[in-house]
Amino acid sequence: MASNKTILVVDDEGPIRRIIELKLKNRGYNVITAKDGEEGLDLLRRQKPDAVVTDIMMPRLDGKSLCEHAEPLKQAGSFLTIVVTCRISPEERSWVARMTDTVLMEKPFSPSRLLECLEKYFEKDGS
């Protein structure tokens, strides 16, 4: 059911990338991974994934900047962004809230909730 969806996973921590990748692949998604925001942005532009799961604290380009760069891309075709972070401060909440189709998820995150969140989005999306 999810076979036609591609998810981009951006995180500088290998184990986290692996967990998300495995869980998504087992659910039938295509998964592409990036280990920092810059790599993520490049893949985002070239491969146009259906959803992005990103960390905030990353080398080169952080998750916030990645989201900001992603905003204009969302005009062309909407996609979901899930920001996974361990520091949920009010200011973090407020910039995430300003973004289109962007949700915040706290670390330690629950892989099953992440899947649920994606599924809900795709269901609502009707595609």
Partner: protein, 508 residues
Amino acid sequence: MKDLKTFEEFLHSLSEITGLGFEIRDADGRLSSAFAPRHTTPEPEGILELTRKIIETSTFQHASLPGAGACFGVPIPGAEEVIGVLLAYRAETTGRACQQQVSAEQGPSRQEMERLLSRTAWLIEENNRCRQDADDITEVLSQSFEDLHLFARIATQIKTLRFSDSMLRSLIEEIMESMGVDLAFAKFMDRDDRDVMVMEESLAHAIIDGQGLVDALVACTPLDTSDVTRHYFILNHSEEDPKFGSLYPDPYRFLAVRIEHESEFYGWLGLFSLNMAAIFRQSELRLLTSMAEQVAAVLANTDLYLDLERSIVNMVKSLIHAIEAKDVYTRGHSERVSEYCMRMATLLKLDAHQMETLQWASVLHDIGKIGISEGILNKPGTLTQEEYTHIQDHSRQGFNILRPLEQLKDSLPAILHHHERYDGTGYPDGLKGEGIPLLARIIAVADAYDAMTSHRAYRPAKPPEEALEILEEVAGSQLDPYMVELFVEMIEQEPGNCVTGSQKRMTG
């Protein structure tokens, strides 16, 4: 088999060098192939048979296949059995068949092929195993993340030291959601008012009485307290036990953990699931156990707290009895003043903490009289200046008596200052107006009114309307005028008080 793409490239390079084509198959057919130059080859006749033979014998095999010539193959072992084969043969292309046949014979020997293929198969096997291990470890890690996530959420819920129904409910909801079960509950042995039960919507549609199901489950759960190590009860399949099987039409799983603190057994924390494809995992049991421990610890804390509160109430009661035994005038006075004060507090919309503080202060406001001699307290006539000074000392004495009690510390200012006068001429500190604590100003009004309307050996009780008039007279000098106004209104509105002060004022 995992990641065959990587090997396809590797085998392709090998094919370029050796001129042999490579193929990975399992019993059902071709999984991957590498032929240089790249092309798809038809399946040589007899290759299925050769594949089957390799899988069956689990050894190197070779055969001469029509159209392919010499064909070599080795098994690729999996964790338990052979999961596929690696084959090498010269791919047939029309026209060149004859030439290749010749070169094949000049090609590597049987032993060389066995070595090459065995080592390559070993690499594939090793890669498979590593990939599988990595996935397994990732799965375990992922599960730990789920547990961590749950712990982090639960930890914020359970920070509280005192038990509350809402705390427990959200905890149970969280457990049900995180563990993906259909019903979760906390069932207490002697406090069923604390019981909590939450169900998935689908289950709620199927059964009307969830609590009834919980009660039945708990009733069937063996209560073997002698076995200390067994702090939980698990039923992986309801059909294992006819007692449980009859409780619900569909098969279910059931896990219950004892809510226990230092051998004080409170009840059960339980999970019920209709999803028979899953099982209760060890980590879930551990998690549920620590939740139960936390809940039990909070309950034990709450019990201690309530015990402490009860002992303070009892101590206060003893103190009141002590002063009442000594001072006949105080008998019933403390309670009545407290009652007036609480009614005032309601009108003033004081918060719960202020209410509690006022209650303690009003009940105990005269406690300092314990330190005054009975001769003075019960003297029918007028007091000498010296005796009066003694009496005045009772507010400070009360303050001193109660000061060691941490729980009453907020009530102390109201006790110390309940004889201050609004104009600043009262005792002990001569505080003035708003400088007098609010609760002390409330007590002062109630105290004055009750003193006037009670019988004294040296004078009869005044009727309420007269007492109210006097209150109004001293409003602003002795008493806070706003509190007096409120008090007068409150008394006048009492049912049965038809002769009201205001009517009298209007006519008089």
